[in-house]
Subunit: 325 residues, 2 copies
């Protein structure tokens, strides 16, 4: 088998929903080779008219919150009860360190990963957040072209990647544990205000009352916070991935949200804005990448950063200096 | 009197605390002329060793929250009771529209603006947020060089400028009204999670109980939210600028914060990070400004944005196309 297919082969395979071709197309968009890049853009351009028809859901939560079991439970509900096709992607720039990825271990989602209507893809590894985010968004488009109705984008909830995920999904789900306080230390500040829904996980095994109390508290707290431009008031739900209780409720909230956001035009407007944001982010990243790769900049940057950090040189003067190199 | 002083005259005047020279130096950093820019950088470079010794406080809140009267009350406390020198700056990119500025109307702060130890400067007008933010941060450094102990940076709480202010201050104060709900519509989502302290204003004239209740509610809500990297738990206070009640309490919280943040090293680390952020923001803005000013880009951008928005062209392919022009 050839290492790469032709653009036509990729396109045909994708539109036919061929999982093997989908996997190879995602590998292509993840590649950092210039030749792969050109081919990937050709494929993406060809399938673009067939994208955009899925519901894109971001799911985040710190390690220990039960993210995998939640995704397995909600995912099985989507493929089994609703009969929809589901793709699960991930963004985890930290996986560079371990060389693995948050979705690498498929045993984490035993039933889902074995299901014919589910496609699970780990986070691309070994690249910057920008690169990982870009590859994941392109993979999302490829999954849509391959006919997946629902896309989950998983992230770890402790870093910068949540903003990137928020910029590529329609609905953002934050998983939390009952027992407000300590477990919050891991959640990055600012994530809470991105959430369209908060799900209190592990509402089982004697933990039901604590989960209910947490739900009430968070719901009260969220009411005090300003609405986003969608006009949607974030909701809080409890859920047990173990017993399945609350799983359909999470899906109902998503449906309520979609009705709301499609009704007031926000859904379509948001997707258009996201497209534009990706355009300008891509330009920005390319400009910065080129700038910081200049030999003269690389040579001076370290010393200048030191001077700026210590307050010996003003940030603006230093910027001028580097730009004039 | 010459339109511009020499670099040495600016420097000497600033270090001597000359208010007139300070005003003219701020006009210089606000200028968009290339010759002024070079002179401004020379002056800033000369006074830089004398900056950094003030406490920098961001103050935000939507129109109607009583921001001016609060700043007048807290400001008078600072200059009268504490005997410190105070400078009040503003960031308001929207003032482009009105041609005025949020601090333009000095009658708003009658006592403070007449006080020998207070210096009030309106927002620079007629420029982009980036330009306004940059000018304000440079003005802040000039005020420090001129010996001001405390700097307030005021912003309107409804736009993008809060992030810029957050990036130049040590402590971020959000003003809110009692009666959670409707008035929140004006506050931009995400601002709440930047706040180191929330102050419920207008806790007077029969509004005291509502203010107390709001304080309790917000304090409860904030406890549910993750701490920032400072490890500081945001506090909520009530305050009446009319009676003066609660004004010293706000100052006490600031002192508690400074003790906390200096104690764990966050204060110094944050300032260094802010310096670096300004360096990289400045570079980014300059790169983008140059890119979008290219005639070929200007010519194509509109049509390409349309295609991307409508999903006819992928954001990444479009970015490549523009970058290749």
């Amino acid at each position: 088998m050839a290492r790469r297919l032709t653009a036509e082969q990729y396109t045909k395979g994708l539109l036919a929903g061929d999982r093997l071709v989908l996997s190879r197309a995602i590998t292509l968009v993840e590649s950092t080779l210039a030749t792969d890049h050109a081919l990937a853009q050709q494929v993406l351009g060809a399938v673009l008219p067939r994208t955009g028809r899925s519901v894109r859901i971001g799911i985040t939560g710190v390690p220990g919150v039960g993210k995998s079991t939640f995704i397995e439970a909600l995912g099985m509900y989507v493929v089994e009860q609703l009969g929809l096709r589901l793709a699960v992607l991930a963004i985890d720039p930290t996986s560079q360190r371990s060389g693995g990825s948050i979705l690498g271990d498929k045993t984490r989602m035993q039933h889902l990963s074995a299901h014919a209507n589910a496609y699970i893809r780990p986070s691309p590894a070994g690249r910057s957040l920008g690169g990982v985010a870009r590859a994941t968004r392109e993979a999302l488009l490829l999954c849509e072209a391959a006919g997946y109705d629902v896309i989950f984008v998983e992230t770890v909830g402790v870093g910068q990647s949540e903003t990137a995920v928020h910029g590529m999904v329609d609905f953002f789900l934050l998983l939390m544990l009952a027992g407000a306080g300590d477990e919050l230390q891991g959640v990055k500040r600012g994530i809470m205000e991105m959430a369209d829904a908060v799900v209190i996980t592990k509402a089982d095994s004697g933990n039901e009352l604590a989960a209910k109390r947490a739900r009430r508290e968070y719901q009260g707290a969220l009411h005090l916070f300003p609405l986003g431009s969608s006009g949607w008031a974030p909701v809080v739900r409890t859920c047990s991935a173990l017993t399945g209780e609350g799983v359909p409720g999470v899906w109902e909230e998503l449906q309520r949200y979609l009705e709301h956001a499609r009704g007031n035009g926000y859904f379509e407007r948001r997707r258009q804005e996201q497209n534009l944001q990706w355009l300008h982010h891509s330009i920005r990243e390319a400009l910065e990448e080129r700038f910081y790769a200049r030999p003269a900049v690389q040579q001076q940057l370290g010393a200048i950063r030191e001077q700026v950090m210590r307050g010996e040189k003003s940030a603006f003067a230093a910027a001028d200096e580097l730009l004039d190199l």
